[in-house]
Symmetry: C2
Subunit: 271 residues, 2 copies
């Protein structure tokens, strides 16, 4: 998917919501456990109930790997279902991979080619040759961890590295890499004041923003400091939407929560 197609989708749906499909079998409605693949049944219902309110789905691969072969099967079925039924939706493999060059190439092919995700999240610690193999895919996107939404972000990311904080060094350095136009960045919502500085460095890039809702970040604050002329934000919510109810009405309740965020986004966009 091109960035332009993503922007068009945002305008049409009046939404820049990304729904995180972080499915924990212990938290899904009991009646789904009768199905052969409860995780896929759960995802399918959530996707059918919310696809017109969000522009992106983001399964975190950890939640699938945790169930071994069966989990990978659920992930494959989920991405195939989205790609076939809702091809306009931007898909993110939240995998946080990164390894030496030839190994990163294997990961890139797995997520961007074989599973056919539109994008994958990548960790920057190993530098240029660990990220460039992901950037080589046309009309695919690499979402680099810059400033994450967890407490541990302050251990290294905000420490001064050279002349500035490490997350700034990561962003600045990444702009010099080959095919850097395919980069987006993860920036946690829990630190809205940081968006001003980040926008100076990457005015045009999309930012994937976790941490709204369960982790305490404010949507209005993030938009105030982080939005650009093309919106340039994908706001992720996972647990707050997908686990809104664990009864038979789970998909309906998920839609209600997604609708609240979409309406808030619609208002912000109309200003």
């Amino acid at each position: 998917m091109t960035t332009q197609q993503l922007i068009q989708q945002i305008q049409q749906k009046k939404s820049f919501l990304c729904i995180g499909l972080d499915v924990d079998v212990t938290k899904i409605p009991k009646h789904l456990l009768e199905f052969e693949d409860p995780i896929f049944e759960f995802n399918k219902a959530i996707i059918d109930a919310t696809h017109d309110l969000c522009v992106s789905y983001k399964p975190n691969t950890a939640f699938y790997e945790a169930y071994g072969l069966k989990g990978w099967q659920s992930l494959e079925k989920t991405i195939n279902y989205i790609n076939q039924k809702y091809p306009e939706v931007f898909t993110i493999a939240d995998a946080k991979r990164g390894d030496i060059g030839n190994t990163s190439s294997m990961y890139a092919r797995a997520f961007l080619e074989d599973l056919n995700f539109d994008s994958v999240t990548v960790a920057p610690y190993m530098g240029k040759d660990s990220v460039e193999p992901f950037l080589a895919f046309e009309n695919k996107h690499t979402i680099l961890l810059a400033l994450t939404s967890n407490e541990g972000a302050f251990d290294f990311q905000t420490k001064i590295s050279g002349e500035k904080e490490l997350y700034k060094t990561v962003i600045e350095t990444s702009k010099t890499w080959k095919n850097s136009e395919n980069l987006m960045y993860v920036v946690g919502a829990t630190k809205a004041e940081y968006f001003t500085e980040i926008r100076k460095m990457v005015p045009d890039s999309f930012l994937l923003v976790p941490g709204v809702g369960a982790q305490g970040g404010s949507l209005a604050e993030v938009c105030k400091f982080g939005m650009n002329a093309n919106v340039g934000l994908l706001i992720n919510s996972s647990r707050g939407i997908i686990f809104a109810s664990n009864g038979v009405d789970f998909a309906e309740k998920a839609r209600e929560e997604a609708l609240k965020l979409q309406q808030e986004m619609g208002q912000i966009l109309s200003k």
Copy 2:
């Protein structure tokens, strides 16, 4: 496996060799492609031919994920084969994972409990709460990326972060985390002079050392600066051993290459 058991194995085998099972289907002998699971057949033959010369096997998960469901099946079969037939061998899931707390917990369970690896490699960028879930498993080990063997290591890892290089900050900080006694560190062989500094910070920890052989590092240099009273090193070689031949004699040739390294190690240990 306890660290003591690993040390005993090193003394018995006079080896601190780790063999990287980074299996690329395009590089394995053609006759194996007739089998239902060529990757597993390849691994099994390599393992049977080398288990007395090495103390550890390290499959890099990227090479298995690249083949989707079939790849995960090959990985499961490989780790089960080692655990059943050669339970004395220390196993490493080279996965380079790391995510927010609840997500890292899923990864930790997947690799340390379900697949039952002895250890897993973890990326430090997201800090304390992304690593501690891995450290919580008793007699399991978390191998933290410190200084990697690729060129991109100089992008961020060796940049000054606070008062010292980032990789030193990572090592020093990690020592304050809960259950830090379960930590080992990845330190690339291509930078032997760095071992002196690292040994000052973690005199007792095991270091997993990639980059000997194909990537140009010297075994003698690494041992000179990196060895401690309990050896404290696991030297990894992947391509140089497993792809020594792509003919029907591949396992035999792999053994020859492993033997060369083991003999060199035996000489170093006898000094």
